[in-house]
Amino acid sequence: MSERASGAKLHWLRLLKAAERLTKTKLSEEIQVHPWRRPLPSEAPPPAKPALARDYEVGLVYPVTDEAIEARAACGLPKIPPTAHLYRDSVYEKRRLLEALGVLKRFQFNGIERRFKY
């Protein structure tokens, strides 16, 4: 098995762990540990946060990785797809829309630091 493939495997294992961790902090379970904790003010549910942050960053759910660039070239496709990955103006327009809609404020997402406040 190639080095790249084993790297991808590790990535997927990390992803599973991350998903388990995110979904383990369920409000129903958390309350047993912190009975008096108030709900956090962000309206973004924790499992969706990584995808929402990436969405703000690249305009789509997944960034184009080196592995994807390599595979796209092997398939006879342009290295960067003609989506918001290539047309960066779309990303800026989307960010303006997100700001105008008040979504960033509701989710307590800091657009400059690219992270959720809570």
Partner: protein, 168 residues
Amino acid sequence: MEAVIAPLHVEQLNITVTDKILVHDPSKCTGCCQCMIACAYKHFKTFDLEYALLQVHEDPLQPGRFINAHCSHCVHAMCLAACPKEAIYRDENGIVRISPLKCVGCGICSYACPISIPKKHPRLNIYMKCDLCDGDPVCVKMCSAEALKLLPREEAFKIVAELRGGSP
């Protein structure tokens, strides 16, 4: 938000019920649980399924077939009749609700309901149940397969009777 539910007066009992109720068709359900996730988010801002006010279960006799347990806002609401603290009431649209201020968390409503729809709040000692999202249920909007529908009561009874194999 646009309310799609209207009050319907039942003269014999002198009560007001909702004109439409949720109906689930198991033959169309794909078990995606989008209804549960949207419900939990709508009411509690979480994707935690413990908070969903309706439940999708796989049929133990037929794998791959799913059934949905949801509140029907019954004309003869057993939960309402059983509540010792009068915490369960019908609002002006006929939606059967639990008042979180009056509920003492005894759980009798859950025992009285034929399918145990009222469930205990995971954080608080109160019971909670479907409120039809104040007249525009999000679960119906989320169901792409159109297994969950909001239908007038009479039509819903007919469909449920058909699903049961002819017996109403």
